[in-house]
Amino acid sequence: MSRPERARPWVFRTYSGHSSARASNELYRSNLAKGQTGLSVAFDLPTQTGYDADHPLARGEVGKVGVPVGSIEDMQALFEEIPLDRMNTSMTINATAAWLLALYVAAGERQGVAPAQLQGTTQNDIIKEYLSRGTYVFPPEPSLRLISDMVAFTVDAIPKWNPVNVCSYHLQEAGATPAQEIAYSMATAVAVLDAVRARDDVPDEAIPRVFGRISFFLNAGIRFLEEVCKCRAMAEIWDELARERYGVQDEKLRRFRYGVQVNSLGLTEAQPENNVIRIVLEALGVTLSKKARCRALQLPAWNEALGLPRPWDQQWSLRIQQILAYETDLLEYGDIFDGSTVIESRTAELLEEAQAELHKVLELGGAVAAVENAYMKRKLVESHTARVKAIESGELQVIGVNCYSESEPSPLLEGSQSVLKVDDAAERAQIERLEAFRKRRNAADAEAALRGLSDAVKSGANVMPASIRCAETGVTTGEWADALRDVFGEYRAPTGVADRASAELGESAGRVRERVRAVSEHLGRPLKILVGKPGLDGHSNGAEQIAVKARDVGMEVVYEGIRLTPQEIAQSARDEGVHVIGLSILSGSHGVLVIDTLEQLRAQGLGDVPVVVGGIIPDEDADLLRRAGVRRVYTPKDYDLVRIMGEVVDVVAESAAAA
C-alpha cells in the first residue's frame, strides 16, 4: 500500500539554554541529533535586560532562565559546529533584540555565512513586555523605533529573517480571553507596521514585503477546540489588515505565519505527570487545522512548574511532536474543519469580538498609547482576576489542583533529581570570562564603535549597522544597552494595580479582613505589607494579584514594581515601616536573592520583620529558605489567595506577639 502524500511538518523546537554558551551549545547539538529541526534560544535575564554578568542587578540571575550572552565570543560559542546558513534560529529577545541580532550577524560572518543566508526570528515584541513579561528597558517610543530600525534593516539585508514575532502568547498568560489575544496582538502588529510605513527610508513598494515578514507567536491553551477557532480567526483578520490597511495584493505575503509555545503557565505542580496530556492536547489545537497550522512548535516539559527541565524531559516533549507528525495521519489530509458549522460559527464570534476590541484600541491611539494609559493592562488584569476567582471557586476545574487532588505518590518525582539545577558556579565563571574578554579586546576599537552607536542613536540613523560594528569590535551587552539608556532613558511601566477595582469579598475573605482589623489595632496602625520583586524577573502577574488581594482584605500595600535589588527592598521596608514582606521570584534565582534580602534586612536592623516568599521553588529549596528564616514559602500549587492572606496575618500576629 502506498502512503498518501504528506504535508511538510512544522519546525520542531525546544525553548532552551542555561548556564553558559558552551553548555547550551552542547544541549543544542544533542537536541538536533535527536531530530529537532530548529533552535529556540532562551537568554538569561541580564542578557534580556541589557546588563553584563557583573552588574549588581545581575546577581543570582546569570545563566538561570537561559544562556548568558555578553559578547561576540559567547555568541560564537553558542553556535559552534552549528552551521548558521542551514539553521533556523528563534531568539526570545526583545528590548535588546537589535543587539542580539547584531551579534548573530557577526557570529555568522565569522563562520563565513553572509547575512542574507541567515534564517530565523527575533521575538522583538515590546508591547507585551510592558503588559506582561517585563523585560522592557527603554520607553515605548524609542523601543518602537528600535523595532522599526530592525524591520527596515532586515527586509533587504536579511530577507529571510522574521524581525518581529508579535506575541499573543504572553497575553494569554496574563489572563487574556481569546478575543483580547487576537485584538491586542493585532494592535501591536499595526503599531509596528505603521511605524515602518512612516519611515523615509522604507519606500511604499517595500511595504508588502515588510508585511510578509511579520510573524506571530501564539499560546495554545487547554480549550483546544477554541484554540483552533482562534488561529483561524487570526488568519482571517490578518488577511483583512493586509488588504485593507496595507494594500498587500500578493496572497503569499498575506499569509498568517506563526510559531507556538503551548501554555506553560497552566501546567500544574500538583500531579505533574498530567501535564504531558495537557501538552499533547494543546499541541493538537495548533496543528489540527491545516489552514491555520503553526510553522514552528515548541512544547514545554511536563515538569516546568517544578523547575528547569532536564535534557530527558525536553526529549519527551520533542517525541510528542515527532509522533504527531510522523506516526499519526495528521499530515495526510487537507483542513479537516472545512465545512464544520460549529468551528465556523465560533470562529465568526471570536472574529467579531476581536474586531470590536481592536477597533477600540486603535481609537484610543493604538497599542503604544494603550500601554501608556494602561488600558490594555487593566483589561488583562480584569480577565486574569476573573480567572483566578473561577479557579478559587471551583467553577473552573483544574484536575489534580482544585479537584481530584488525591494521588498516589509519583515515581517520577522520586529523589532530588527531578529537575535540573544550574550550578551556582556558572555565574562566577561567566563573570571571569567577561573580565578576561574585556582585557583581551582592542579597547580603542570598541570605544570607537560605541561612539558610533551613540551618534547613530542620537541622529536617528538606523542602529543596526552601528550595532553590528559594536558586535565585531567586542562591545559587551551591558555597554551596548548603557549607550542606549543614556539617550533614551529607562522606562518604568505603570503597574496597573492602583486603580484596580476590588473584587467582591467572599465569606472567608471577610473573616481575614476582620483579623487584619484586629491585628492593626494591636499594632497601633494598619497592617502594612511590602510586596517586592527582587532581581530581573519581570513576570509581575503573581505579585500584582497578591498586592490587590492584600488591599482588599484591608492591608496597606506598598508595591513598587519589578527589578529591585535586595538593598532597595530592605531600604523600602525600613522607610515605609512595613510589618511583613512578601517576595515574588519566578526566575529560579530565589536562593541567592532571598538570602541576600534577608541579610540586607538584618543590616538595616529589620531582622525581625517576617518574610514570606512565592515562586517556582522546589521542595528542597523551600526547606533551605525556611531554615534561613523565611516564614512561609508558596508555590504555584497555592492558588487560594485568601488562605495565603490569612497566613500572612498569622505571621504578623506571631511576630508582634514575640516582640
Binding site: 494609559n373 529607562e490 476590588s502 499594632l523 488591599r551 506598598v558 515605609e576
Partner: protein
C-alpha cells in the same frame, strides 16, 4: 509617628513639640508637589531626586494618598520606587494612606515633614491634588509645585475649583509629546494671568518639562531656588509658615471637635488673635492645649 496607641502617641507628641521648638530656621527646603492622578508626579520626583543627589543634597519624600477605601486597605502601588540610587541612605521615601483615625492624615504628614526636615537637606511632600489634601500640603511647603499633564481637561477643572491659586510654580510634564504640552502651558499662562492673588514680586512661572527624558528638570530646580530666595529676601518665609501652622491648628480643631470646638474657643476670629506669633514653632503644643480647653468646655456644658 503614625502609631495610634495612646502611649506611643504621647511619646511622639513630645518629640514633635521639641522638634518644632528647636529646629533651626529656615532649615530644610520644603517643597510640595501636587497634580492630578497620572500627571507624572512620581516620575518627576524621581528625576528631581536624581539631580539633587548628584549635587550632593540629601532628600526625604512623604507621599500622601488621600484615597480611602471601605476595606481600609490601600495600594500605594503605582508609586514606582524612586530609581535614583540603589540603596542610598541619602534618600528616604515614605508613603501614607488616608486612614480613619484621630487627627487624620494632616497630623501624620506634618509630623513626617518635621522629622524629615531635621535629617535631610530637602523635603518633598507629594499628594494627588484633590481638595483638602492639597491645602494641607500647601500649608506644609515653602514652595508648592503643580504638575500638569498636556491636553488634560483637569487643569481647567482645577482652575475653576480655585485650586490653582495655591501653587507657586507650574510644571507641564510630558513636554516630549511636543505641541500638546505647549498648548497646555499656554492655557495655564493665560489662565493665571486672569486671576489669582499675585504675590508681590513673584510671577508664577509655567515650565515645560519631561520627567522621563529629564529635560527642564534643572530649570525647575532653578525656579524652586529662585522662589525660596524671593521669600527669604522679603523675609516672607516666617509668615508663610505661620499661615500654614494656623490652618493646621484650625483644621485640626474642627476635625476633632467639629464647629463646637471653634465656638467653645470664641470663634475663629477671636482664636486667630490668640494664636502666638511663632505658631509654626509650636503648632502641636498649641493644638494640644486648645484641645484640652475644648474638652474642658465640653465637660462643663
Amino acid at each position: 509617628m503614625d502609631d495610634a496607641r495612646p502611649a506611643r502617641r504621647r511619646e511622639a507628641l513630645e518629640l514633635l513639640e521639641t522638634l518644632e521648638r528647636e529646629a533651626p530656621f529656615p532649615g530644610a527646603v520644603r517643597v510640595g508637589v501636587t497634580g492630578a492622578p497620572g500627571a507624572g508626579k512620581s516620575t518627576l520626583l524621581d528625576a528631581l531626586v536624581r539631580v539633587l543627589r548628584e549635587r550632593g543634597e540629601s532628600v526625604g519624600v512623604v507621599a500622601v494618598d488621600p484615597s480611602s477605601r471601605r476595606s481600609g486597605g490601600a495600594l500605594l502601588g503605582d508609586r514606582i520606587r524612586l530609581r535614583s540610587r540603589g540603596a542610598d541612605p541619602g534618600v528616604f521615601f515614605r508613603s501614607m494612606a488616608a486612614r480613619d483615625r484621630l487627627g487624620g492624615l494632616a497630623d501624620a504628614t506634618r509630623a513626617s515633614v518635621l522629622v524629615l526636615a531635621c535629617v535631610f537637606d530637602r523635603v518633598f511632600v507629594e499628594t494627588v491634588g484633590v481638595g483638602q489634601s492639597e491645602t494641607d500640603v500647601a500649608g506644609l511647603s515653602d514652595t508648592l509645585v503643580y504638575v500638569a499633564q498636556p491636553g488634560a481637561g483637569d487643569t481647567l477643572q482645577f482652575m475653576k475649583a480655585g485650586l490653582l491659586e495655591l501653587p507657586d510654580v507650574f510644571a507641564v510634564n510630558k513636554a516630549d509629546q511636543g505641541a500638546p504640552a505647549q498648548r497646555t502651558a499656554g492655557e495655564l499662562e493665560s489662565g493665571l494671568g486672569l486671576g489669582g492673588a499675585e504675590d508681590a514680586g513673584w510671577t508664577r512661572p509655567v515650565l515645560c518639562i519631561s520627567a522621563t527624558t529629564g529635560s527642564g528638570i534643572d530649570a525647575l530646580l532653578d525656579r524652586l531656588e529662585a522662589h525660596r530666595e524671593h521669600l527669604l529676601a522679603r523675609d516672607a518665609l516666617p509668615a508663610r509658615r505661620r499661615a500654614g501652622a494656623e490652618a493646621f491648628v484650625l483644621e485640626g480643631l474642627s476635625r476633632r471637635y467639629g464647629s463646637f470646638g471653634l465656638e467653645a474657643l470664641g470663634g475663629a476670629e477671636a482664636l486667630r488673635e490668640r494664636l502666638p506669633a511663632d505658631l509654626d514653632r509650636a503648632a502641636f503644643s498649641v493644638l494640644r492645649a486648645l484641645g484640652a480647653e475644648v474638652e474642658e468646655a465640653l465637660r462643663k456644658s
